[in-house]
Symmetry: C2
Subunit: 585 residues, 2 copies
């Protein structure tokens, strides 16, 4: 028989019709000689009723039915009695009186009940992923994922973008993380690499005059699994020619507005706020600040640098700084022990200590209060907008440690104290990134973004690399980086200067990127783009906190069912060696 309706489609509108449904048994209840079966398919659940008056045979068959059986029922849609109506169910005002039933497939008792709320551990859920995905809550995530990509595609298509597939078996290009390598059987001793991003291919497409490219692109990084990281992930990847930063930002704001509207039904305001990187680090201690709450970092170095508190004065003297956050109204709720715990938390981010002050009616209190009296105390109070009942937390260290520790502390306190409005979606552009990061151990510069990013100042590439800003931008949502992009270098001489600044010899640059440099010789348009992490967007928009819940078949930490044993004719020890040998440069 052909299904006539999905379970979730049955409403009062089709009362009186006969329907054929196919789905899974959610629950069976026997009651006074009748049997009630909640039938589930991907659209929802509907109550079916077996009654000897409708069909004796169907009732008999229904008696043998257990949860998760696959069945087909044929019957009439009938309005429930008023008191039987169930407001919680979309189909709660009707039921199906079954005249015919067929068992399509049986089911053993599943290892966990198929319900939204489950306390079964994730390992079991992942082992039986095909059952886990039956849970309506999880299935909804994949509906949302599909809806997001649909909206993105429709939007970009309307803006003249062409979807182009770029290779997955490709050449290795240094992009930061380790590449997966794939031995080629045809070309002995050589490997394909799996792409960390389609960066160079999309730039080639701009050289080709494709003008606007996008792809929902699979990318790969051979890194250890973490809760928030999978070895393969999906990017919404785009590139445009003849565009300014303003143009790219404006287009992507419209894209996000559309996604939020179509998928969440929420109107978000554009343009989004923007923060230069330096300001984000300074005010929030983070390059992806969660701006749904304040508690900003305040620089108190000027006030404390001449104090007799050696820890503070010394930090400033040696080129570091002292910053503080004001935990409003928390002086009394945080005991000494609680604050010690915060200190231990800050220590994980490199802070050697966490100093604190409480504000009471008489002024500053706490072990270091004695160092700040009179004018210094007044200035601190003023700078930190401190009022009675506030808790002030200080970190003194070099700039990066202060930012990391206080930034992390701010986020933790924001969550602990429920300062975050979970209904808010704070989109934020972080701009004016540094072009380079300096690696002190290796004594050389690395590209903060990637080596194809356009510098704001070409001359500075040679004269003062550490000061040069990148024409780059990240989009941040509620403290998560959704994606990032930049204008790209499109002139050969600039790209050559860039490679030089990164320590490549001319020969190395030519060997690794000769095809790119050559391409610049044949009429390359100005271009730029952006890439968003789709998995993370799905996670944030679905309200999930587990990245694996956004991926149909995620990798697990165990070397279990997703890995292939070594081919049988190969000596395992040799392969073991290989497994170790193939390391990134």
């Amino acid at each position: 028989m052909q299904r006539t309706h999905y379970c979730g489609e049955l409403t009062e509108k089709i009362i009186g019709q006969t329907v054929t449904l196919q789905g899974w048994v959610q629950k069976r209840r026997d009651l006074g000689g009748l049997i009630f079966i909640d039938l589930r398919d991907r659209s929802g659940i509907v109550q079916t009723v077996f009654n000897p008056d409708f069909s004796k045979e169907a009732l008999e068959i229904a008696e043998s039915i257990r949860s998760e059986f696959v069945i087909e029922v044929y019957g009439k849609v009938v309005e429930r009695e008023e008191k039987q109506k169930n407001d919680k169910l979309l189909t709660g005002s009707i039921e199906v009186h079954v005249e015919n039933i067929q068992i399509i497939n049986e089911a053993k008792t599943p290892p966990f009940i198929i319900e939204d709320e489950t306390d079964v551990n994730e390992e079991i859920r992942l082992k039986y992923r095909y059952l886990d995905l039956r849970r309506p809550q999880l299935a909804k995530v994949f509906k949302m994922r599909s809806d997001i990509t649909k909206t993105v595609r429709n939007f970009l298509d309307g803006e003249g973008f062409l979807e182009v597939e770029t290779p997955i078996l490709t050449k290795s290009t240094p992009e930061g993380a380790r590449d997966y390598l794939v031995p080629s059987r045809v070309h002995d001793g050589q490997f394909y690499a799996l792409p960390q991003s389609p960066q160079l291919f999309k730039q080639m497409l701009m050289v080709s005059g494709f003008d606007r490219y996008y792809q929902i692109a699979r990318c790969f990084r051979d890194e250890d699994l973490r809760a928030d990281r999978q070895p393969e992930f999906t990017q919404i990847d785009m590139e445009m020619s003849f565009m300014t930063i303003e143009g790219i930002i404006e287009l992507n704001e419209r894209l996000m507005k559309r996604v939020m509207k179509d998928v969440k039904g929420i109107d978000i305001e554009t343009p989004f706020k923007r923060l230069p990187y330096d300001e984000a680090m300074s005010r929030f201690g983070s390059d992806k600040p969660d701006t749904r709450f304040a508690m900003e970092l305040q620089d108190v170095s000027e006030v404390v640098k001449d104090s007799s508190f050696k820890v503070f004065a010394g930090a400033v003297e040696s080129g570091g700084q002292v910053k503080a956050i004001n935990v409003k109204g928390s002086a009394n709720s945080y005991s000494r022990k609680d604050i010690d715990a915060l200190g231990e938390f800050a220590a994980r981010y490199g802070a050697k200590g966490l100093a604190w002050l409480k504000v009471d009616a008489e002024g500053l209190k706490g072990p270091i209060a004695k160092f700040f009296e009179g004018e210094a105390a007044e200035e601190l109070v003023k700078l930190l907008d401190a009022q009675e009942g506030d808790l002030l937390l200080f970190v003194a260290d070099k700039k990066s440690v202060v930012a990391d520790a206080l930034g992390a502390l701010r986020l933790k306190l924001g969550k602990d104290l429920n300062l975050i409005d979970e209904t808010k979606f704070n989109f934020l552009w972080v701009t004016e990134w540094p072009l380079f990061e300096y690696d002190e151990e290796e004594g050389r510069y690395y590209a903060a973004h990637h080596p194809f990013t356009m510098p704001a100042d070409v001359e500075g590439l040679v004269s003062n690399p550490s000061a040069v800003k990148a024409q780059a931008y990240d989009l941040v949502l509620n403290g998560y980086e959704l994606g990032g992009g930049s204008l790209r270098i499109y002139k050969r001489d600039v790209q050559e200067k860039m490679f030089k600044a990164l320590g490549f010899t001319e020969e190395e640059a030519r060997e690794q990127f000769g095809f790119l440099l050559d391409a610049f010789d044949y009429g390359t348009p100005p271009h730029g783009g952006i890439a968003f992490g789709l998995d993370r967007i799905v996670m944030l928009l679905s309200g999930s906190t587990n990245l694996r819940d956004t991926i149909a078949f995620p990798k697990t930490a165990s070397a279990s069912d997703l890995l292939t044993e070594a081919p049988s004719e190969v000596d395992p020890t040799q392969l073991n060696e290989l497994g170790i040998s193939i390391q990134s440069k």
Copy 2:
């Protein structure tokens, strides 16, 4: 400056407007103190005019401009004089009088001219792929590719399909071809495999109740490169629950109808014709017949089996057959030498010889005519609908060789004799496939499709495997297989019988497919699906004959720029060994 229009958008409607254009110099012509530059972007070409009356400075700059420079021009859209109008160009009735020009990027003389018609060899075109893709004809293929996937997505979305991404780093499952293997750094000595298809994942999604799944999925086969084969390729992959073969066929006919309408503007007729596999092999000698012309294979075994021509009689006697094609009206145009060449061609497909007869006013002529006189001749003439001027070609051998040789010959003659109407799009379902192929060398059965295909007769799996048909279907277009699919096994006992028929021990089946067998235990719905080769669809619909022209960055036969050298700290000889060692089982 911001671009105001694409070049190709400039028509008579905007005469009088000033525009800003950005693009590539297609051609520069100097004429009587004026300069004409054809400016190209992805939308088309427009003529721009530099004249001292419009701007002296612009004219001066224009003098330094060469082909493929990237420029920006600002000027007024003006109607061309009547005799200057160019019907061949969409923008041929107007031109742009340039008031301002900026050179955005320069270009060296490209290694070949960027034009539709190019006689440069493919190796050069692929080396400079970014220039090759500038050719409007090739760029159009990628527009079509993007349009096809857009239509497919919109159609399937409208039919309730959910787009789900399945893993690319996955477990190896035997699917016929060799897997690419990816060493895992985290799990020593173990490998991921790249999927040859998402088959098992999509079946898992059906077990999960996703009901309708699709994906434009990248797939991989570690095989030698061929003109019509790339190691990575793209499938339009779908799977549906609770569907009959009729339902799947009907849905896909509507899909193809929509694609043909949206992409080619052609209304094709549905339902498509259907041929059982046996009939396709018998009438066309092919499981993917090109039905745009007749010249069908005729079985003449009954007529010739008692003849005194030993080759024919012997073939039939030893269980083979004799078949013929009638090459209408070609008796006089094929010399003995020509026919010998056809014989050599047939020999490539295993035919030991090609017998022939010509028909003239008096009857059959040719070396073997003497064996067929009187009644036999009449019967041959009748069976083959032979008329004066026809050429009859015969192959006598075992069934498979007769089909291969005459099928190939039929195709060759169809092309050589221009019998094929190239404007036709003959869609055709080939159905009722055999479930197994018997490997005579290994003395065992292989799954003709894959081991998850539903047999038409479960009991036959054990009693008479070679006679069992698969519930499978291929879609053929103009002699090419566009894709294929089947209903799948959804009961554990049937799947176990299938594995047994394929020679798996219980333990082997459990080891390799335990997760699938387990899944069948928890309520698996009936399901089936299909997968189409996107690259081939693009090739056929774009009228290209080169599969590589449908792929933005195809692999080349050379171990050149797409392969990574072995990581430097690994001993190359060891890697060489590895390159050889990693062979499929």
